[in-house]
C-alpha cells in the first residue's frame, strides 16, 4: 500500500524535470519576463500537485485505518505484530450460482472456418445407393467459413430454462441465419423427470445432439451423413427420466413434427416422427468410464427430399432407424487435462418401406434395409495435442433392377472411409485441426486434406460426457 504513495511524488518530480528541461529551449532569444512566467507556472503546478498528493495520502491513511478496524477485512490473516488471532465470523457474500450466469443470459459465439483440398470434385460427391439429405456432404473446396454459432441461454425462472443456438452460415454467397436449437426445459419436475419443448437435436445416438464445435473430427461419420442428414433436429417435445439407481440409467422419448430429414413432410398432421432412447453408463476404477446407448427413431415421410437440391429424389413411406452407441474414456486418475483416450463407436441400421419418385426417372416401391458403422479413437498424449483415427463403412440391400443407373443403386464394393486427425488446443476455447480422409465411399477413391479452426468467446456451456 505504501508504494502507491511514493508513486505520485516521483511522477510529479519527473514532470517538473521535463518542464525544467523544456524551459531553456523556449527561452532562446526571449526576455527574462517569459522565463519568470514559466517559473511561476512551474511553482503553481508543484503547489497543486503537492496539495493533491497530500490529499491522496490523507485519504489513504483513512482507508488503511478503516481496513484495520474492519474485522472481516483481515479476518483470515493473522497480523504480523499481534500474532495469530482467531477469525471472527463473516457475513455471507452474495451467492453466485454455479451456472455460468455472470452474463445473464449467458452469451457465447463460436467461430469456425476451414480449408479443404480434394482430388475429386466435392460438388459432384455422392454415395451410390445412399442419397444424402439434410445438411450432409463435404465442405466446400478451398477456404470457407463454417458455421458461426451464436448461443444464448439462461434460466427463465425457478421452473424453466431456455436455450437458443443460431448458426450463421454462408450458402452460395448468401448469409443465412439458421435456427438450430430453440428450446425451453423444465427444472422443477419431480421424480427425476424433465420435459423439453421447441426445436432441438434429437437425443438419439451419441453424436446426434452434439454441436459442430465439439466433434472430434471436422466432419460427421458417413452413417450420420446418410441416415440422419448429418444430425437430426426437429420441432417437438422430449421427455427424459433418470432412474434413481446407483448406476446411470436414462430413458426418454420424443414426439417430433417430422419436417426434416430423415423424416419429411410433417406427416400425421404434424406428428411425423417419434423416438425412444435409453442410456446407461458408469465408471471402471478411477481412470475409466463408459456410456452405452440404444435408440429407435421411426418416422413417416411424405415426399422427403434427398440427393440434389434442385432435382431431389422424393421418398414417401416409413423409415425406422436403430442406433447402438458406445463410448469409453480413459484418463489417468480422471485427469483428462494431461492425458486422455477416448474410444467411440456407433452402429446405425435403417429399414425403409415406401416408394421413391425420381426426377425424370423411375418411380416405384422401395423396401430396403441399410446399415453403417464407425469406430474412432482419439488420444491426447500430452496437454494441448490430440491425435485421432476413424474407420467407417456403409452396407445395404441391393434394390431391384429398375433402379440401375440411378443414385439409389449401389455400385461395386461397400462404401468405406478412413480418417486421421491431429488437433492442437491452446486452451479449451481454441482449437486448430488437421484432418486427412481416404474416401472410398464414392465411385472414385478420393484423398482429402482439411484444416479447421474452432474458437469460442463469451460464455461456453459445459460439455456432456
Amino acid at each position: 500500500m505504501k508504494s502507491r504513495s511514493i508513486g505520485l511524488p516521483a511522477a510529479s518530480a519527473l514532470l517538473a524535470c521535463l518542464l525544467a528541461a523544456g524551459a531553456p529551449a523556449s527561452a532562446d532569444g526571449d526576455t527574462k519576463a517569459e522565463i519568470e512566467a514559466l517559473r511561476e507556472e512551474l511553482r503553481q503546478m508543484r503547489a497543486e500537485y503537492e496539495s493533491r498528493i497530500a490529499e491522496l495520502e490523507s485519504r489513504l491513511d483513512v482507508a488503511e485505518q478503516a481496513a484495520a478496524s474492519t474485522p472481516a477485512a483481515d479476518a483470515n490473516r493473522p497480523a504480523a505484530a499481534s500474532g495469530y488471532a482467531a477469525a471472527p465470523p463473516q457475513s455471507p457474500q452474495t451467492v453466485s450460482v454455479a451456472r455460468d450466469s455472470s452474463f445473464n443470459p449467458a452469451i457465447g459465439v463460436t467461430f469456425q472456418g476451414q480449408a479443404w483440398a480434394y482430388e475429386q470434385d466435392p460438388e459432384t460427391w455422392f454415395i451410390p445407393g445412399f442419397p444424402l439429405g439434410g445438411e450432409a456432404g463435404p465442405a466446400p473446396e478451398g477456404l470457407s467459413l463454417a458455421e458461426t454459432e451464436i448461443t444464448v441461454s439462461a434460466n427463465v425462472d425457478d421452473k424453466f430454462t431456455a436455450m437458443l443456438n443460431m448458426p450463421v452460415v454462408v450458402e452460395d454467397g448468401e448469409v443465412v441465419v439458421e435456427l438450430e436449437e430453440a428450446w425451453v426445459e423444465t427444472l422443477a419436475l419431480p421424480g427425476g423427470t424433465a420435459i423439453r419443448g421447441g426445436r432441438f437435436f434429437s437425443n438419439i445416438g451419441y453424436l446426434n445432439s452434439r454441436h459442430f464445435h465439439s466433434w472430434d473430427f471436422a466432419d460427421q461419420p458417413l452413417a450420420y451423413q446418410v441416415f440422419l442428414g448429418n444430425q437430426y433436429l426437429d420441432d417437438g417435445l422430449q421427455f427424459r427420466w433418470l432412474a434413481p439407481t446407483d448406476f446411470y440409467l436414462e430413458l426418454g422419448a420424443e414426439a417430433l413434427r417430422g419436417d426434416r430429414f430423415p423424416a419429411g413432410g410433417a406427416a400425421n398432421s404434424g406428428l411425423g416422427s417419434k423416438t425412444l432412447f435409453a442410456k446407461t453408463g458408469g465408471d471402471a476404477g478411477l481412470s475409466n468410464s463408459w456410456q452405452f446407448g440404444l435408440a429407435w427413431l421411426t418416422a413417416d415421410a411424405v415426399e422427403r427430399e434427398s440427393g440434389g437440391e434442385d432435382d431431389p429424389l422424393l421418398f414417401s413411406g416409413t423409415t425406422d432407424l436403430y442406433i447402438a452407441d458406445f463410448v469409453w474414456k480413459w484418463a489417468p486418475n480422471g485427469n483428462s487435462k494431461q492425458r486422455n483416450f477416448k474410444f467411440q463407436a456407433e452402429y446405425l441400421w435403417r429399414s425403409e418401406d415406401g416408394s421413391y419418385t425420381l426426377p425424370e426417372g423411375p418411380a416405384g416401391p422401395w423396401v430396403v434395409d441399410q446399415s453403417g458403422w464407425y469406430a474412432q479413437a482419439v488420444y491426447q498424449p500430452f496437454p494441448r495435442w490430440r491425435f485421432g483415427a476413424r474407420i467407417e463403412q456403409l452396407s445395404g440391400d441391393t434394390p431391384g433392377p429398375e433402379w440401375i443407373g440411378t443414385p439409389l443403386y449401389p455400385q461395386g464394393s461397400d462404401p468405406r472411409r478412413y480418417s486421421l486427425m491431429a488437433d492442437w488446443s491452446n486452451s479449451e476455447f481454441s482449437r486448430l485441426r488437421l484432418q486427412y480422409n481416404h474416401d472410398r465411399a464414392t465411385l472414385e477413391a478420393d484423398n482429402q486434406l482439411g484444416l479447421q479452426y474452432i474458437f469460442s468467446i463469451g460464455a461456453h456451456g459445459a460439455h456432456s460426457f
Partner: protein, 303 residues
C-alpha cells in the same frame, strides 16, 4: 418394448437398495465431503465428485456423477466458477430440482468466505479467469470455520429430525478445529515471509494465511500449462544460486516435470503439497491435511 419391460423390472429390483436412511451429500471436492462427514457423522452419506489426485477444474460430466446428483439431498461445491466446466452439466442432466442453485440443497462454499484475487476486469487473454475470485479457498483453515457453520445449519434444515445432531456436530468440530488452528499457527511461525513459486495459483489462501510471498507461477497464465519459454524466463528471473525463492510447490495432480526442471537448474527445492484430503498418505482427514501441509513446508531445509 421388451427392452422397456426389462428396464422397468430391473429398476423395481434396484429401488429398495436406493432407498435412503441418511442425508445424501454430493460434494464437488473431497474437503467438503470430509467436512459433511465430520459434522453429520452417521446421519450423513457423503461422496465427492473429485478426488485429491484430480484437478477440480477439469472433469468429465460422467454418467456415474449424474446418477449421484440425481439422488443427492445436498450438493456442496467450492463455486466461484471452479466447477464451471462440469457442474452445470451435472445439474442439468440430473433432473433434481432440490439441489439447483438457489435451493436449500445447494451450498456454494466460496460464497461464505472472503475471496482473494477478485479481478477488476476479466479477459481470457489472462488465462482461465475466475470473475468471482480465486476459488481454492480450502487452503486457509479459517475458511472451514465459516463453511462448517453454514453447512451444519443447512443439514439441520434439510433433515430436521436430526437437527440437534448437526448442531452438536458443528459445535464439536469447531471446538477441535479452533484448537488445531492455534497449534498450526504456532508451528507455522518460521514460514512467515518465505518466498514461493507455485505451479498454478492454487495456494493464494495458504500464502495469505501463513504470510508467504508468491514470487512466480510455473503456468504462464492461469490454466495454460507451463511452456519452455516461460520456464526459461523464470530461470533467468530466479537465478541459479537458489536465492530466488524458498520452495516450488505443486499439487499431487500437477505434472512434476516443470517444477523438477526448475529445481535442477536453480537449486530451489520442489515439493508436492496436498491440496485437499487424500492428497498424500498422511492427509486422510481435514486435521491431518493441515498437519501434513505444514510438515512438508517445514521439512524444507533453510537455505
Amino acid at each position: 418394448m421388451k427392452a422397456i419391460r426389462f428396464a422397468t423390472v430391473s429398476i423395481l429390483l434396484v429401488l429398495p437398495l436406493a432407498a435412503r436412511a441418511e442425508l445424501s451429500v454430493f460434494a464437488c471436492e473431497p474437503e467438503w465431503s470430509a467436512l459433511a462427514e465430520v459434522i453429520g457423522g452417521d446421519h450423513v452419506r457423503a461422496a465427492s465428485a473429485t478426488h485429491a489426485m484430480q484437478d477440480p477444474h477439469y472433469l468429465e460430466a460422467r454418467p456415474s456423477l449424474i446418477s449421484k446428483v440425481r439422488k443427492a439431498d445436498l450438493v456442496i461445491c467450492t463455486g466461484a466458477q471452479l466447477e464451471i466446466g462440469w457442474l452445470p452439466m451435472l445439474l442439468t442432466k440430473a433432473n433434481n430440482p432440490r439441489v439447483l442453485p438457489g435451493k436449500p440443497g445447494f451450498l456454494e462454499a466460496s460464497s461464505l468466505v472472503r475471496r482473494l484475487d477478485v479481478p477488476d476486469s476479466v479477459d481470457r487473454a489472462q488465462g482461465d479467469m475466475h470473475p468471482q475470485g480465486n476459488p481454492h479457498i480450502q487452503m486457509n483453515p479459517h475458511n472451514f470455520t465459516h463453511v462448517a457453520r453454514a453447512l451444519g445449519a443447512r443439514m439441520a434444515e434439510l433433515d430436521p429430525d436430526n437437527a440437534t445432531a448437526y448442531t452438536d456436530g458443528t459445535a464439536a468440530f469447531l471446538e477441535r478445529w479452533q484448537a488445531a488452528i492455534a497449534g498450526w499457527e504456532e508451528r507455522a511461525r518460521p514460514l512467515r515471509g518465505k518466498r514461493v513459486v507455485c505451479h498454478h495459483k492454487s495456494w493464494v489462501y495458504l500464502e495469505d494465511w501463513l504470510q508467504l510471498e508468491e514470487v512466480a507461477t510455473l503456468e504462464p497464465v492461469p490454466g495454460i500449462p507451463p511452456t519452455a519459454t516461460h520456464l526459461s524466463s523464470l530461470l533467468t528471473e530466479l537465478g541459479s544460486d537458489g536465492g530466488g525463492a524458498d520452495f516450488i510447490i505443486r499439487a499431487p495432480f500437477q505434472s512434476a516435470k516443470p517444477s523438477e526442471w526448475l529445481q535442477e537448474r536453480t537449486g530451489i527445492p520442489a515439493i508436492m503439497v496436498p491440496l485437499t484430503v487424500g492428497g498424500s498418505d498422511q492427509a486422510d482427514d481435514l486435521f491431518s491435511l493441515f498437519d501434513d501441509v505444514l510438515d512438508r513446508l517445514l521439512a524444507v531445509p533453510a537455505p
